[in-house]
């Protein structure tokens, strides 16, 4: 069992190329999603903090 996991992680000797490709993709895409979500939350919070009247909100 351990050896199959080790085999899998070793990626046929190409671990140093395969895993960074997947790791970087995960970091970049999750990071982009997190930044976009944070900007949306920030804009929502600032808009509600203004306490817009019904007319201004239109």
């Amino acid at each position: 069992m351990t050896s199959t996991i080790q085999d899998f992680l070793a990626m046929g000797g190409y671990a140093q190329f395969v895993w960074p490709a997947y790791g970087l993709a995960a970091v970049v895409l999750v990071g982009l999603l997190a930044i976009s979500l944070r900007q949306l939350r920030k804009a929502e919070a600032e808009l509600s903090a203004l306490g817009l009247s019904r007319r201004e909100r239109a």
Binding site: F8, M11, G12, G13, Y14, F17, V18, P20, A21, Y22, L24, A25, V28, L29, L32, L33, S36, L37, Q39, L40, K42, A43, E44, E46, L47, L50, L52, E56
Partner: protein, 261 residues
């Protein structure tokens, strides 16, 4: 069909831009975006989970490339998205310049960082594959160079959007850059046919059908569709944020000049 159906005859036909502006209504956009976001989010999670399972566990190693073939399941979808998102920005820029479509500028501005991320991933994952397989992190061949130019076009687009005090002028300049730079998209696609490159030619979108084994095509397509739904999710989130920010600016301006006659 009712004979009295209103065909609009006798009334002035609304101009195309009027029809488009009806779809561009921000309130309607918010409603549609909120309705589709949960579905695209669920689809993204499902597709990427399935795609990663097949990419890492349930697909064979290549007879020439060994396990490095698994880099392809990140690299190829990223490269496709790099081209797809740029084409989307070019189309949105055209709509913004020609019809003054109010949402088109917002769409182009929101898409460009996403496309830059995908282009970056395509370049780096390609480099990580190139080192063990070609023996070089980078070569100045036609495909790699034209994709690097695409990355700089994305950065230029993002920079131009912020380069003017007046955001509408920045949007115009960025839209013109996006349209002019679109010539690079077919150059990238056909670079592997037009020039002698180290990069392999197309194996999916080619005459005679895909030349890739189904066991490798499945994870590739799952990842590609998953990246596409991910793009839709992030695009909608960013467009929502941009529209809220615009409304915030408008409200602040209105408060600064309360005594309008």
């Amino acid at each position: 069909m009712q004979p009295s159906a209103d065909l609009g005859i006798g009334r002035p036909r609304p101009h195309n831009s009027v029809i488009m502006h009806r779809f561009a209504n921000p309130a309607r956009f918010q409603r549609i975006a909120n309705a589709v976001l949960p579905w695209f989010t669920a689809a993204t999670v499902l597709l990427l989970a399935l795609g990663l399972y097949f990419a890492l566990f349930d697909s064979p190693a290549d007879y020439q490339q060994g396990e490095t073939v698994r880099i392809m399941y990140v690299h190829v979808p990223s490269a496709w998205m790099a081209l797809f998102v740029y084409s989307f920005i070019a189309a949105a820029s055209a709509a913004a310049l020609i019809w003054r479509h109010p949402l088109a500028d917002v769409a182009a501005r929101s898409a460009s960082p996403i496309g830059a991320c995908f282009t970056f991933l395509a370049l780096v994952s390609g480099s990580l594959w190139g080192k063990p397989m070609w023996g070089a992190w980078w070569v100045w061949d036609a495909r790699l160079t034209s994709v690097l130019i695409l990355f700089f076009l994305y950065l230029g687009h993002m920079a131009l959007l912020r380069a003017f005090d007046d955001p509408t002028r920045g949007a115009r300049a960025a839209a013109i850059l996006a349209l002019a730079g679109f010539v690079n998209v077919p150059i990238i696609k056909f670079s592997v046919d037009w020039w002698n490159t180290l990069h392999q030619p197309a194996s999916i979108l080619r005459l005679g059908g895909p030349s890739i084994d189904p066991s490798m095509l499945l994870p590739l397509l799952l990842m590609a569709v998953g990246f596409t739904t991910f793009f839709v999710v992030v695009l909608l989130l960013r467009m929502k944020a941009e529209l809220l920010a615009a409304r915030l600016r408008a409200a602040q301006l209105a408060r600064l000049q309360p005594a309008m006659p």
